[in-house]
Symmetry: C2
Subunit: 463 residues, 2 copies
């Protein structure tokens, strides 16, 4: 098959020759094949004979139609792109990022020392180890089970150690396959929807309502205390539910989660509960869905060390799949997830898992708490800043995210204004779903002096 | 929906109460719900009233039909299971594993020191970093491009750093979607076929020929020099091709790979070339598919540090997706793969990537070569052992795998005999596809004394 490049000749800016090393090949399926795309930068050039029709070779493999459904880029790389463009335009600006929820504070030494020790040990006969269990080191699985699910009937073999919650979201989608319908909070972390689209669970994106077909968007707004009105929610097979929520920062109460579990049970749905921010809860909201009676029969839970220990770049998380959770034919969800993990994953890094184990020592737990407390203090500063400027501010109490309302304005416009005038990167609420329109998410991950400086700039901008 | 457990009551061996914490829930969809599966060990117990019908709650979510197609467990966990069972039966036996291709020798210190240093630096303000680029650190991408693809027109932004080749195989399947047909060498590394089944690309497993429907199995035997007769191969969208091959140990020659590229071009197919063992090549076979002119338009390549640097447990690999590789609509495969990587992955661990960069320093490269040479020496010992016993032995010259023929015998029988009588774990050839029947794969990863001891035991067993 040939892909005709018209009307003129496209040539790589770094190509030294029209007929590169590949030019020897002709095939039944392309007219002229040449090495035209070496640099990734295509420039349009005039040619001696403009009538010449030059074709670039294309395979006959169709692009996955689900990939074509995806709108724009994944949210956070898009924000990074805009940040980079802003810096190019304002090379002297001191840009502060309160955008992507990226940890900034050093990892407690007790944790990094454990990783360093494990790394060094790999150079010794006694300390070397090759492939670990795909499900994670037994010690770490046991420590996660006892630390976070001590009295809840979750055991070591219910825990699957991962390289992060985002990665396991896609592995869970592989597990569920393309014939399920999912529900998501609106707004919510975009990986749920995007992975659903990629798996072919959805219809096309509908421009008029900014939603994909065949996804149930559960509206979470200030009017309903950021908890969906379940009486209006249609049945879905899989309900992604993040609490404390990213981006609204709202944690569901025990009463609300009890309703959610009951709703799932009545509908025979599976809840994928994302508790990646549970350590930020400061009131008595449940830290895990398994605090709710009956949850083990309708829920699995994904979580992560990223926001607890500053492991965003180190990569470690876990998923709990209770043995009580069954598909409609009575087979165990955990059994199939185990097969996915064994086929599509090879376990988290042994060096990193040693760090995870150190996180769960008594010293490590205290150290993680200190890091979390630091970010919680940042959160208070940001909440106070926006409140004092008269904005309606949500979240913050149980999460490192502050959710600020700009009624009647477009999130991307507010994002652009704050970036342009205050050199601050935030995240437009609409990037998390149509329910986020009119909001921006402000992340409390940052050095203290940056958060204070951001606060000053915001006060100048919006005074 | 309810799943009726008959004829008697199943109760968890560790359950302290018939009516556990979950018993408060009744729902429209199950008759009686109780916390019956806490321990994962189900025991059948007599009950006072045997007529009582106790049901366990099941969700209404259908099991993914593709998961149900999968045969048995993933190969290597199954071997580990049999190994464990053997050890239980023979607690005093000194079992030596030449089964799963798991590295055993310490990682050179220059590499582990770099990881330890990076880990420790994460405890400092200056050295801390959060989320890295999903595609990998720019320095590492650049080093991979220049080290392995120096003069081949592959650039830094064609490289996607991963947590291992197996993980990227599944991400590639997500990229391709369920509507492609794949071809695999028969025998081949089982992750290609299993991930294809999971993605829904295949039909059911056909017991009569031990193949899944809608997969093209390209037979590779001693008769065809372990290179498929392409004149008999039907068109596939995606051709998985591993060279040096796991399990046969055979590396395709330049002439063979030129034929493969031409075949792909004529058919408009995409080759997924797995070069995870390329560093073991000792003759002039190509180390990468991109040595073949025209390959960039029809191939992408997956590779790994696992077998080069002993990173099986550390987890680091990469995938090359040339910008010249296009779908039939002219869109770039790399663009969609980038979207998959950004949505389903968060980059390899920063600590581990520092190790990868050290691997590619001049000292690191030399150190990796030494490790590879050590395993190559093991390979020679194993080849000599089987040859001297009169077996037809293949592979070994360009790969750490020795492929031994036991004409007329079942691979699993040979596996069981060698395990039972010599306490040696090998891998049954049929685990890699029907074309592997009658063979066993012997891995050369092992301490020298173990390989020598294995050699002695084999000579005793088969003398």
């Amino acid at each position: 098959m040939s892909f005709v490049v018209k009307p003129s000749l496209w040539i790589s800016s770094s190509s030294s020759s029209l007929l590169g090393e590949d030019s020897g090949f002709t095939s039944r399926t392309s007219k002229v094949t040449f090495n035209s795309r070496t640099s990734g930068v295509l420039k349009c050039m005039g040619v001696a004979n403009p009538a010449a029709e030059i074709t670039a070779y294309t395979t006959r493999v169709s692009r996955n139609a689900n990939m074509a459904k995806l709108q724009a880029g994944y949210l956070f790389p898009e924000i990074a792109r805009r940040r980079t463009a802003h810096i190019s335009k304002h090379p002297d600006a001191q840009v502060i990022s309160l955008g992507i929820g990226d940890t900034t504070e050093p990892i407690p030494e007790v944790i990094t020392s454990a990783m360093a020790l494990r790394a060094k040990a790999l150079s010794t006969i006694e300390g070397y180890s090759g492939y670990g269990a795909e499900q994670g080191d037994k010690k770490l699985r046991t420590a996660i089970a006892s630390t976070y699910y001590g009295n809840l009937g979750i055991e070591e073999n219910d825990i699957f150690v991962s390289d992060g919650a985002k990665c396991d979201i896609s592995r869970l989608q592989l597990l569920f396959g393309s014939n399920v319908k999912v529900a998501v909070q609106d707004p919510s972390y975009p990986a749920y929807v995007d992975s659903s689209v990629i798996m072919g669970q959805t219809g096309l994106f509908e421009k008029d309502n900014e939603k994909y077909g065949n996804i149930e968007y559960m509206r979470c707004t200030q009017e309903n205390d950021f908890f969906p009105d379940l009486s209006t929610v249609s049945r879905a097979d899989v309900i992604f539910f993040c609490s404390p929520n990213n981006p609204t920062g709202s944690a569901a109460s025990r009463e609300q989660l009890t309703k959610l579990v009951q709703f799932a049970k009545e509908n025979g749905s599976i809840i994928v509960y994302d508790s990646a921010y549970a350590m930020y809860i400061s009131d008595d909201s449940p830290r895990t869905i398994f605090e709710i009676p009956g949850a083990k029969e309708v829920a699995l839970e994904i979580s992560s060390f990223s926001k607890y220990a500053g492991f965003t770049g180190v990569r470690l998380g876990w998923t709990v799949v209770p043995k009580e959770l069954l598909f409609s034919d009575g087979s165990r969800v955990a059994k199939d997830f185990n097969r996915i993990v064994c086929t599509s994953f090879n376990g988290a890094s042994n060096v990193v898992q040693a760090g995870g184990l150190a996180c769960l020592s008594s010293v490590g737990l205290k150290a993680m708490e200190d890091v979390v407390s630091f970010y919680q203090e940042n959160t208070k500063i940001l909440v106070h800043t926006f409140s004092s400027l008269g904005f309606n501010v949500y979240g913050g109490r149980n999460a490192p995210y502050v959710w600020v309302h700009f009624p009647g304005r477009s999130s991307w416009d507010v994002f652009a204004e704050i970036l342009e005038k205050a050199h601050l990167v935030t995240t437009p609420g609409s990037g998390f779903g149509p329910g986020g329109e009119g909001f921006i998410r402000v992340s409390a991950f940052g050095h203290r002096e940056n958060v204070l400086e951001a606060s000053r700039r915001l006060k100048t901008l919006f005074k």
